[in-house]
């Protein structure tokens, strides 16, 4: 999986097209590599989805197109597809032996620009360049329609490094995007002009945050690219950029919801209480800043945990019990590795927004794993939960809350603490050992969304230090008032329920958190990843894993992240309760025992 960074040879396009192939089947990988080389493409092969994501993130502009198999052990191909689309905005082609219409449709829904059936023929691969070309044209078209003459002038003057040879009209794009790159994307490779090719918008954490904020402000239902664009006030961003990002965001949210729909089978789970206000989903990043509304949308996106970790922990909802174990244990080693690196530099972690996001994400992950009925006494402080609180309070002190909770929340690892500190919209660190009291005080950072169903069991937990992870009590009778809101939660919890205990959970959680701290990539992105993983997973209940983590009993603490924006209304209820932390247990009971 190595690949020397090679800028595409634009003079002989499509030759030199930089393709990244991801497939867990080594035989297919080799065949595809050979086929693509025969097409004169620059091929990079990858056997694992997370490695692929790493590669893509390391070289933001290093690839033109991604081809990925749908069924992979470490990550669902659709998830990878989504992430690539969101983070890198690259065209992605899906492959599978299974040509069932529903699968193909799913692929398209997730943003695949094509869906190939195995066995794949050479001729099918020869034409993949059209997807790259099409995207470029659309970008240019968008730019042209929004751009002033200036860009064209610059183009005419001959930008010295216009390597966007793909399109004749690529110059404005490259010019414009280059400016963007300089202004916005530090991770772009400025040094090498020839590498600043494709004018692809990279949705950095900040940018996405702005986006989510704007969406929240407008109101998820009334949102439109133009409005968002205006609100965001990012000069170089085009309406088209926003439109496509919005589309992805919507897809992402609807997928979350659908998963919930699918998984919510427990009777009595009313989602009504999950108010859309809980846009904690975005893990505070955007929520904190956007107090006005629950940012359902944010929920999905705000979460960008450590990418590496996230990837490894990705739980494929399709994975059944046994599978999760394998998956979970996979990243563990990786996490641990990463942890060591980070452990030595708490300061760094502190300053890393990613870290906090990551921890948040990891928490999510862990939450997923928790068994519903598990007796996991984990106090899970989630910044996400905080967010809703903040929101209710109309931004009057989200950060304060966070900090408070942050300080009080026990952190599974030293890094976590640090991380949270520095991050403004940070999520409270996971505090595995914190006492419930602290937690309560700190904030209602609960994994609320996950508490699709709270049973009385849960209630009792509230009062005890070793509270169980209520999140997972989906299968219990408690009903969420807000069916909608809980969809994602129920989804998650249901998943969890279905999973067996995952011993490795603890370790994974910790290492994951630590990993998060190391924070690579934008926090937002990692949050996204985490969220994605979180939501998707049929996670093995991490009973053990959550042992150290106290989970708040606040069911109403929403994992707002997962809840679509418009579903947050019920959260209002929670809000009232939130203000009085000490009453939570009781409230929860009242709330969730329907």
């Amino acid at each position: 999986m190595d690949s020397a960074f090679c800028p595409p040879r634009t003079d002989v396009f499509p030759a030199g097209l930089r393709v990244l192939v991801v497939d867990d089947d080594p035989t297919w990988l080799k065949i595809l590599e050979k086929m693509l080389k025969k097409c004169l493409y620059e091929v990079t092969i990858c056997g694992l989805a997370r490695d692929a994501l790493n590669l893509l993130r390391e070289r933001k502009d290093g690839y033109d197109i991604v081809i990925s198999d749908v069924n992979m052990p470490d990550m669902d191909g659709f998830k990878l597809l989504e992430l690539v689309g969101l983070e890198m905005d690259l065209p992605v082609i899906m492959m599978s032996v299974d040509g069932e219409t529903s699968r193909v449709m799913k692929g398209v829904q997730h943003g695949a620009c094509d869906y190939l059936l195995k066995p794949i023929r050479m001729k099918e691969l020869r034409n993949i360049w059209q997807h790259v070309f099409r995207k470029k044209i659309n970008e240019v078209r968008d730019i042209e329609s929004h751009e002033s003459i200036d860009d064209f002038q610059i183009m005419r003057n001959g930008p010295e490094q216009s390597d966007d040879g793909y399109l004749v009209s690529g110059d404005p794009t490259s010019v414009k995007k280059r400016k963007d790159t300089e202004n916005k994307h530090d991770d772009r490779d400025h040094c090498d002009p020839s590498s600043v090719k494709k004018a692809r918008v990279v949705w950095s954490v900040d940018l996405h945050q702005k986006f989510v904020r704007a969406v929240n402000q407008i109101g998820f239902d009334k949102v439109g690219p133009k409005k968002i664009l205006d609100l965001m006030n990012v000069p170089w961003l085009t309406r088209e950029n926003v439109a496509s990002h919005l589309q992805k965001y919507r897809l992402y949210l609807s997928r979350l919801q659908k998963e919930d729909d699918l998984k919510t089978s427990c009777g009595g789970i009313k989602h009504s209480d999950l108010s859309p206000k809980d846009s904690t989903g975005s893990f505070g990043l955007s929520n904190l800043t956007n107090m006005h509304q629950n940012d359902a949308a944010n929920s999905g996106y705000g979460f960008s945990g450590n990418k590496k970790l996230v990837q490894s922990i990705d739980i494929d909802p399709k994975v059944q019990e046994g599978d999760l174990k394998g998956i979970i244990s996979l990243p563990r080693t990786e996490q641990k590795k990463m942890l060591t690196g980070e452990a030595s530099d708490p300061q760094k972690a502190r300053s890393s927004q990613m870290g906090f996001n990551d921890s948040f994400g990891s928490i999510e992950q862990d939450v997923n794993y928790a068994a519903f009925d598990s007796s996991i006494s984990a106090q899970y402080s989630w910044s996400g939960e905080k967010v809703p609180e903040a929101q209710f309070q109309e931004e009057h002190r989200p950060s304060v809350q966070l900090e408070t909770s942050f300080n009080q929340l026990p952190v599974p690892g030293p890094q976590h603490h640090i991380q949270v500190d520095c991050l403004q919209p940070t999520l409270p660190p996971i505090s595995p050992g914190s006492s419930r009291k602290e937690r309560d005080k700190a904030s209602p950072a609960k994994i609320k969304p996950l508490y699709a169903s709270y049973d009385s069991h849960h209630v009792s937990n509230v009062s005890s230090a070793g509270s169980e992870i209520d999140l997972f009590s989906v299968q219990s009778k408690c009903q969420m008032v807000n069916p909608q809101a809980f969809e994602p939660i129920s989804n998650i919890t249901l998943n969890m329920r279905n999973q067996g205990h995952n011993q490795s959970g603890v370790n994974d959680l910790e290492s994951f958190q630590r990993n998060l701290i190391s924070g690579s990539g934008s926090a937002l992105e990692s949050l996204e990843d985490l969220q994605v993983h979180w939501l998707q997973g049929d996670c093995n209940p991490m009973n053990l894993g959550l042992r150290n983590i106290e989970f708040s009993d606040y069911h109403d603490q929403k994992l707002i992240t997962e809840v679509p924006f418009h579903l947050y209304d019920p959260l209002k209820l929670d809000y009232e309760y939130l203000s009085d932390l000490t009453e939570y247990p009781i409230m929860d009971q009242g709330l969730f025992i329907a």
């Binding site: 035989t27 297919w28 065949i31 050979k34 069924n71 032996v97 195995k118 066995p119 050479m122 059944q320």
Partner: protein
């Protein structure tokens, strides 16, 4: 062009593998990919397939031993195996895989166990035939 008896033999054997349904069009694709840069490409791919499929077969065998049978996991494994088999054009093997998956959907333990034996059988038969084929091809090439 066939120039010597060995080459004719190789061609004949190749033809029969297709005629008898052991291989399909994908195998031809692999042959087309073979070139000076990768003169033994087809054989390499087949070898890679057999190495990797041993692992998949092992997984399935293990899964078949657990009680109760996890049909979803079995189906998943078989899906992988089928995908892999399609890479070399192993037609009969693929067909048996499909049968197996049908038994998974029907949740028939007996059906799964039985068809899996057939999958393994076809898998082994094909391997032997291909080994012979490549050996012959090598000899024919040397003799040329």
């Amino acid at each position: 062009m066939e120039r010597n008896p060995l080459q004719r033999q190789v061609a004949y054997m190749r033809r029969s593998l297709f005629d008898q349904g052991y291989l399909d069009e994908q195998f031809v694709q692999l042959e087309d990919l073979q070139d000076d840069a990768n003169p033994n490409f087809v054989e390499e791919i087949v070898t890679l397939f057999y190495t990797d499929s041993a692992r998949l077969i092992h997984n399935i065998e293990q899964a078949l031993e657990s009680r109760p049978l996890d049909f979803i996991r079995l189906d998943d494994y078989m899906h992988q195996f089928k995908g892999s088999s399609s890479s070399i054009g192993a037609k009969k093997v693929k067909n048996e895989c499909t049968q197996f998956r049908e038994h998974c959907s029907a949740r028939s333990a007996e059906g799964c166990v039985r068809t899996f034996q057939q999958v393994k059988q076809e898998h082994t038969i094909l391997r032997r035939k291909l080994e012979t084929y490549f050996q012959l091809a090598r000899q024919a090439g040397l003799a040329n």
